[in-house]
Assembly symmetry: C2
């Protein structure tokens, strides 16, 4: 018989080779040697042997014992655009500092896929999960995580049927104000809106929108609003009603850049010139569609910061299972002026 393949160096071998007890070696390796008042000399020796033998701790075994894998699942939509990169970097920065590893997965904007990824993370016994929810996913999708008491932090937004959750997201109030002031500065007075109803925060953003309109003394008529009813579909017909209005708005605020880009496209199809006839500005600047977004005035979402907040929150929840529902809101209002507002 050949020797068993993949036979790795174990802590027992390190102990034996060092001439110490297994417990001693284990304490040295896990960096808690002081607890046992182990001499510096012994520590050095064990460390040297571990290095020489190429010892690499088995996280599986560790996880079995401690009940902690030190892994946090991260479910993204996909790896398009800068959004994902910044989000990951922010998340990783914080997890790293606390000895946790992100386990990155991707739902590709597919509900079934998202459910599968969640199942995988559950089997892998991730200690917690950070998820950018798929736009049509509902509470049911995350139920398995809740049932197993795996802390879930929602990144950016929450399905609206999950009223209480751990959330790290953008505080859009300052951004909304900045956006509307920018439009007002361009002479706009009559402000319409375009957005997607699916998420809780999208709805809250609408409220922020109407409140800010009022504060700034601008006009808003709900009949100028356009709401997407389906997830990813395109909406070339959106601007049809707007184009036909005698008293149409002079500008449109988009609750996210995706709907802003689609509105931009739709306005043109229906013969409206941007920015001459109508201006468009969006919350969020994730640049999914590149050429188009180069034309859309928008406010950058502080993705990296939200990533950090999300990671910090999931770690808190891992440490304290009793942590109540929490919303961490990051404000930022970094305006990028482009063609769509002239």
């Amino acid at each position: 018989m050949p020797t068993k393949r993949n036979r790795r160096v174990t802590i027992s071998q390190v102990a034996e080779e060092s001439g110490v007890a297994r417990a001693t070696a284990a304490f040295v390796i896990s960096g808690r040697a002081e607890q046992l008042r182990i001499s510096q000399q012994t520590i050095k020796r064990v460390q040297a042997v571990a290095k020489r033998l190429g010892y690499i701790p088995n996280q599986l075994a560790r996880g079995m014992i401690t009940g902690r894998t030190q892994v946090v699942g991260v479910i993204l939509g996909g790896v398009w655009g800068k959004f994902g990169q910044y989000a990951i970097e922010g998340i990783r920065e914080v997890l790293d500092a606390h000895g946790y590893t992100p386990f990155l997965t991707i739902h590709s904007w597919d509900e079934a896929r998202e459910a599968r990824e969640i199942d995988t993370l559950l089997r892998m016994r991730a200690d917690g999960v950070i998820v950018m929810p798929q736009i049509t996913s509902r509470k049911e999708c995350y139920e398995p995580l809740f049932k197993q008491h795996v802390p879930v932090v929602f990144f950016g937004d929450v399905p609206f049927d999950i009223p209480e959750a751990l959330v790290a997201a953008w505080d859009v109030r300052p951004a909304m104000r900045r956006l509307l002031e920018h439009l007002a500065g361009r002479g706009c007075r009559r402000i319409g809106l375009v957005g997607e109803r699916f998420f809780k925060f999208s709805r809250q953003r609408y409220q922020v929108f109407t409140e800010t309109i009022r504060e700034l003394g601008l006009e808003h008529d709900p009949k100028w609003d356009t709401w997407a009813e389906v997830g990813d579909a395109e909406h070339p017909e959106w601007a049809q009603a707007i184009a036909a209005m005698p008293d149409r708005p002079d500008s449109i605020v988009a609750l996210n850049d995706n709907s802003g880009l689609q509105m931009l496209d739709s306005l043109r199809r229906h013969g409206l010139r941007v920015p001459e006839d109508i201006r468009v500005a969006a919350l969020g600047d994730t640049i999914e569609t590149v050429e188009a977004s180069a034309q859309l005035t928008a406010i950058r979402e502080p993705v990296r910061e939200i990533g950090r907040a999300a990671a910090a929150l999931v770690l808190e929840a891992i440490r304290n299972p009793e942590l109540p529902p929490t919303e961490r809101l990051i404000d930022a209002a970094d305006l990028v002026v482009r063609m769509s507002t002239g």
Copy 2:
């Protein structure tokens, strides 16, 4: 004392609740019930109980026993551009079909980061690794994987000091031919080149370039060539020499789109008009820099297909540790004509 947190349902509980032996339950759950000639009735019962209890197998425990985690580490540069998305989708498609899970990590074009990610995958006992090597990384970086006999498949290219490896990459010969024929069709005769020396395949691409030049009866003078000596740095000075040449080339082929984009920029800085004075065309169309790449004629790299090949190869290597060094080359020559060739 509170009950221990995170206490999950175990196979023993499923067995007990089903009134069968633990071994029986284990066989049913792992889908090998026939081996023990377990009755359909028992199978149904155990499955029903498992479902009712919300049993989720512990992959850690499984991995401990079998020596296989069913996890394949995937190390990408980052999640910018379409490249990553397509690569992941291709990889996942194949891994999924074989019961493996991709463990996605990102080196962010940082050598130290790449080494850390590798260490993490080693601790997690990934069964194999697919890596898009960081451009300046050398053999040393992957040594820990080799030492532990973890199969490594290089995606797209290999550091040049690793002569023998498992590789899934693009067969650029047909693409090169297509690109040069396209340039010839635009009246080009004198072809220069720009590229990065760091990788093995970049070097091979040069050979393919010169051979194809010869086959097509085109001209090439090595003094027209530009080689990047450093990784990610920008090279605004690149075109200086070219602009000054009395007998300069009428077109430049880039060995990847990044160097093509930089050359495009550099040519303009030095007063050359593209495509009037000089044309540029690239191998690879990963669209990292968006606005710029909208101008660069290029041939798409078959990233999704390479992903599939890479995944298939790593699975073979996991099954057969004796698998000799292998190169899986995918050919594709999907030309996208843009401004840079007029």
